[in-house]
Symmetry: C2
Subunit: 394 residues, 2 copies
């Protein structure tokens, strides 16, 4: 019996366990010190009342024979796919409901979509990056070419002329850097993908943080993207669904290669290896897209945005170079005083009692950089920035 | 860009859409006729009160900052893994909580587990069979060898001496046949797997229908299975979770091949491509394993069991050969009067107004056989059998 030998050499990711370990050591040595956590990309604000109400109603339906829902459509209930379609329409993207696939979250779909592609493909992945793109392709043994993201290009790498590509990962607003591609930049990526006959796997998990109307929220706002892109989106950050679990993936009908429709392939994959999302969760997700649900989500997003603004202003005052923070819950900063990522992590923890994420954990180009997240409370965010100002002003 | 070309030649499964089409044509031509559906393997009875109550409580927790749950452990919350562990312990199987993985259902895990195995493996799959085993391996291009299940072996195929094997699918109680392996038979399978260095993928989705204490509910009741088996289980049929979605997979620590722990590989797979099951769903699932939850599940199971008994008795009286029906919600019968599967489907629909599933839809050995399910109401089940008795008594 042969195992998938790729797992043997897959690098273990110790990033967040290393962080947890160092923080817990510090707290043991310094009991009573108030540590502010700005490291993890998880939301803190609860689900909106409308969303909870609909999920409770959906759950109660499951308790009565006359309203009980058994197996649902693997692709998701039409009521939810129509709601997602309406959401896209609100910023000018027209989709057919059959192009929308409901899932338990973007992470599952980003991983599972690779079932559709041969292993003999070249994959472009930005560095630094959300580790799932790299690890899932490594598991399949695909050739990975990194897109160099750095201070010079504002952590928004562009196509390199002459570089062959089959699959291209883009994430905008980006995790971990918070950088956002402009319409012109995404247009160049779409042109390049079409020229290469490549498919863009576009991670739009943070689209709801975009306020600037000139910035695209979906790759499908770009001419030609329907012929070369798949988009992954999530209610995790939009509506606080990190623990409730619901996302959606758009595979356009126009995405065809060698006579095979990728939408039909994904439908076949999902009907074979997935049984749909929990009915009460789909009810909750549909509530997100009602006017009341949207208003409640906006309230939560406004808090995270305020945090991001407080942080941006503080970093500017400190004279620290950074990207992100506007149109994104992440700030990606250059470590002050020439420190490397882990040196700054320790310095920040020991002197300011603030926890962030060392950029080097996201790839080699992350060395010397650092991620802070805007998902805490406004009070803690202000306090953390006050502490940093005392230490790192140029 | 190269797609996974296996999808091009993957047979489309039209079984249930063909059935739906024929039924709807019949109903159009015969309005007002009362058609009884015994075709689909979906439950009809609602979730127990205790289960609904806990899910509602979990949902309300998501609406308050102080009780909000964000990202949970990918493998599932400890409270649920401990509950599953206690359930296994109740019939004598000892597991470590780290060996239990909570998922959104057995179908996902049965499909995704293949990520751990190389494509160069020989896979044994029973015929007839739940189509997911076949299709998921076909998608990966693995070599499939069918295990011949037939009237002679009671639709319980046994190892064939000299047959090389790497992966072996067993489902007991079986879908679609309802046949259940004895302890002696499973012992032979475990011995064979150990001898072949193969891994048994054991689908125990229907274990809760087993009443006979001599029959094994888990492959891990068999000596040696911890070194050669993975077990998939589900709350779909046990507790009516087909639309609420929760299952669990057991990968024992002793399952090691070439120095790689399959439990560690699966953990790595799930932490990379999955983000855990919805927190309120896990609360509901944990309620299933409380004494109150178990009592409520038993009430529902008792109805399905009564149906299966009514059907078994009727088929016996009619002199029709069948397996299943005891310790299983499925009955697998030989079509009367030498009809083939679709001929009997049409005859049963047109003359008795009863819908079942043609056995030929599950594989070549299913031809001439037919599946009936016990998931309807007692009243409908009695009525359907009365109609059949009038037509098919020998």
């Amino acid at each position: 019996m042969k195992l998938n030998e790729q797992y043997r050499t897959l690098e273990k990711s110790y990033l967040f366990s290393d962080i947890a370990h160092r923080v817990s050591e510090f707290q043991k040595a310094n009991p009573g010190v108030d540590v502010i956590r700005m490291g993890i990309g998880d939301v803190t604000r609860p689900l909106g009342e409308k969303i909870v109400g609909e999920m409770v109603a959906g759950t109660k339906e499951q308790g009565k024979a006359e309203s009980f829902h058994g197996y649902g459509p693997e692709q998701g209930y039409e009521f939810l796919r129509e709601a997602v379609r309406g959401y896209y329409r609100s910023y000018g993207v027209e989709l057919h409901p059959d192009e929308i696939f409901i899932s338990d979250g973007a992470k599952s779909d980003v991983g599972n979509i690779l079932d559709l592609f041969d292993r003999e493909n070249t994959v472009l992945i930005p560095d630094p990056v959300y580790p799932v793109y790299r690890d899932t392709n490594y598991m399949d043994g695909r050739r990975i070419v990194y897109l160099e993201a750095n201070k010079e290009n504002g952590f928004l790498p562009m196509p390199v002329s002459g570089q062959q590509a089959d699959l291209i990962y883009l994430c905008s607003p980006n995790n971990p850097t918070g950088a956002v591609y402009s319409r012109e930049q995404l247009t160049k990526w779409v042109e390049y993908a079409l020229e290469q006959d490549a498919v863009i796997l576009f991670d739009a998990a943070y689209e709801s943080f975009i306020c600037d109307e000139n910035l695209p929220r979906s790759i499908f706002e770009i001419e030609g993207a329907r012929r070369c892109a798949i988009e992954f989106c999530s209610l995790s950050k939009t509506a606080g669904f990190t623990g409730t679990r619901c996302g959606y993936t758009v595979v356009p009908d126009d995405l065809v290669r060698n006579g095979l429709s990728l939408r039909e392939m994904w439908l076949r994959r999902q009907t074979t290896k997935f049984n749909g999302v929990s009915y009460p969760v789909q009810k909750a997700a549909a509530a997100v897209f009602t006017p009341e649900g949207q208003a409640q989500c906006r309230e939560n997003l406004a808090v995270y945005r305020e945090n991001a603004q407080i942080m941006s202003q503080a970093l500017q005052e400190m004279g620290i170079w950074f990207v992100g923070g506007s149109n994104s819950p992440y700030l990606w900063l250059e470590c002050p005083n020439g420190m490397n990522s882990w040196e700054f992590f320790d310095d920040l923890l020991h002197r300011a009692h603030v926890v962030g994420t060392p950029g080097s954990g996201f790839g080699k180009n992350g060395e010397g950089f650092f991620r802070l997240t805007a998902f805490g409370t406004v009070e803690n965010t202000r306090e953390a920035m006050a502490r940093m100002r005392k230490l790192y002003c140029k």
